[in-house]
């Protein structure tokens, strides 16, 4: 068979094999070259798969030639291919950046291990997005989580260790809840294939084990995606991890968890069960709104910019879950688009903060005083990405807010549209904190910003440009997201 037929397997196998290769090579330069090459290849594969999906609908691949309900199936549809592009795209942007960044943040003997862990994390996240098997999701989830814990612990501050430990505890509880949910579903339906499960669940719809499975999966995945009251691991993890890791995690890890939630809600349980039998929509709505307001308010009072933007992530996840809770095509489109738009925006923010760390040594508000004069391009980039977080027209963030408000108006919920705009004002306040420090204060005399190599500046510039481009042209984001949303809802009806 030709290589094209095996693309779904290669998508995951390539980074999975490149990871041990970096351990064998050991030399940081070689490991870096392998990692970058592998990530670019995965992006090429994801793009090729996206073309196949656009042409022929769903691409199904039977691992080891065992046919679907018995064997493990890799299944690429509109939503999976969207996630594959996001994850592999962010990896391809962040990895070239990583070398210069970790040279300043991680001791040299650990450099090659950084690439190993990074590739494993990429493989895990891609695996979650591509697999059509419930237990496989858990295995890939743990591959990505375990490597994430190590990546966070590589941070130069000792608090990175505690952050990694806390995330390990919370993440493992979340993952175990997910296994319990999958186990209960397996007991009731007798299958692990997600599509097959979706067909068979009709017969046991509404029984107590199935509703318990729904509850376990919701709580477990919510821990992973840092839904408001379960977000405590996130700010420390993002704040103390190496900058390249913060950027990659903020852009992909929580987004892939949202993908898992969408898969189970709409692909397996079906919306009638999720939103009909249990008051999931109302619960999600309340938690999303609470997250949007509380996390944004907490973000305003942070003095460390990495923590500030980490809390902003929690509030942005609120928007994603809010779109999901509408249970309408427009709302889901907003959620799926925001997975991408927030991914590139937050990726850009954390890459730029990494540049600030590399050149002035820290990102506390006192340290970035006068940064607008010292590092005009970097500051301008952060402000632009910040405008996208607020949702100013012309940036990627506006597209999402637009669809969120549209979805609220579709349901005649004016108050909700009002709250969305109100929470945007809170984002304005925390972004203003940076603007005030960077542009309206005198630079500190003792700070001489070190130059950063183009390998760091270029990836950050690419993401900032993407924030603008995808804010102006929505052909490549909204259309696939709309197709994915219609597929999810059509599947359930």
């Amino acid at each position: 068979m030709s290589v094209a037929a095996h693309l779904p397997a290669l998508q995951v196998v390539l980074p999975l094999l490149a990871a041990p290769l970096t351990v064998l090579l050991r030399r940081p330069g070689l490991a870096y070259a392998v990692a970058v090459a592998a990530s670019w290849c995965t992006l090429a594969i994801a793009a090729a798969l996206a073309m196949q999906v656009a042409g022929s609908g769903v691409v199904s691949y039977a691992i080891g030639n065992w046919p679907a309900p018995i064997g493990i199936e890799y299944r690429v549809d509109a939503l999976s291919s969207f996630m594959l592009l996001l994850v592999s795209g962010m990896a391809s942007v962040v990895l070239p950046y990583a070398r210069a960044s970790i040279e300043r943040e991680i001791p040299a003997p650990q450099h090659y291990l950084f690439y190993t862990m990074f590739l494993l994390c990429v493989a895990g996240l891609l695996g979650i997005s591509i697999t059509g098997d419930a237990f496989n999701i858990f295995v890939f989830l743990e591959i990505s989580s375990l490597s994430t814990y190590v990546l966070i612990a590589l941070g130069r501050d000792r608090r990175a260790l505690v952050a990694a430990y806390q995330y390990l505890i919370m993440g493992t509880i979340g993952a175990t809840f997910i296994v319990i949910g999958i186990g209960l579903l397996y007991l009731m339906t007798g299958t692990l294939n997600l599509a097959d499960m979706g067909l068979r669940i009709g017969a046991v719809s509404g029984t107590r084990p199935v509703l318990a499975a729904l509850a376990f999966l919701t709580v477990g995945v919510s821990l992973k995606l840092a839904l408001f009251p379960l977000h405590h691991w996130l700010p420390n993890a993002y704040a103390y991890a190496p900058s390249a890791v913060s950027a990659f995690l903020a852009a992909t890890a929580t987004k892939v968890a949202v993908y898992v939630l969408l898969r189970f809600y709409f692909g397996v349980f079906g919306e009638s069960q999720v939103f009909g039998r249990l008051p999931m929509a109302q619960m999600m709505l309340v938690l999303a709104l609470a997250g949007m307001f509380v996390a944004s308010t907490v973000a305003i009072f942070q003095t460390d910019l990495k923590r500030l933007f980490a809390y902003s992530s929690v509030s942005q996840i609120g928007y994603i879950i809010l779109g999901l809770s509408y249970d309408s095509a427009t709302g889901l489109t907003a959620s799926i688009v925001h997975l991408f738009n927030h991914g590139i925006t937050k990726g850009a923010v954390f890459l730029l903060l990494g540049i600030v760390v590399a050149s002035v040594g820290g990102v506390t508000l006192l340290r970035v005083q006068g940064l607008g004069r010292l590092m005009p391009w970097t500051s301008a980039g952060i402000v632009l990405a910040g405008l996208s977080l607020i949702g100013v027209p012309g940036t990627a963030g506006f597209v999402t807010k637009w669809y969120l408000v549209l979805a609220a108006l579709e349901k005649d919920q004016w108050w909700l549209a009002f709250l969305i705009v109100l929470s945007s004002l809170l984002s304005l306040v925390y972004v203003w904190r940076f603007v005030e420090a960077a542009y309206f204060r005198e630079p500190r005399k003792d700070l001489v910003p070190a130059r950063v190599p183009p390998s760091m500046a270029l990836p950050a510039a690419v993401l900032v440009a993407a924030v603008i481009v995808f804010g102006l042209d929505t052909t490549y984001t909204v259309d696939p997201a709309l197709r994915a949303a219609e597929m999810l809802l059509g599947r359930a009806r």
Binding site: Y165, T176, T364
Partner: protein
Amino acid sequence: MSDAQGLPGLLGHFSYFVTIFLLVAGLFIVIARGNLIKKLVGLSVFQTSVYLLYIAPGKLVGGTAPIINPAYTVYSNPLPHVLILTAIVVGVATLALGLALVVRIREAYGTIEEDEILLQDPGAATEDEVR
């Protein structure tokens, strides 16, 4: 689940009661203990309880090992065992990584008690501003 009422039903579900007890006990240790090692022990108990949740229903009363033989018609389900082998590997890896992190935390802080660690790092991101 309606047959869970009355003693025979309750006894019939005893494996679930063991599972749920271990599950809740493990989770309680994770939440209630401040010692980082004890937390990991609790986490292990919590994870292990799920192995039981999977494996117990795989056994059929009167079923034999799933090796095809004309003498038998009823076989136990082998799939949960295979799944749980994977889950055990994941559990071991998690525990190993957790313990490795605790070793590093002890090197950095000189203690493995959560409250003492939090005392050593008052507030977030302040040391940079003291200068």
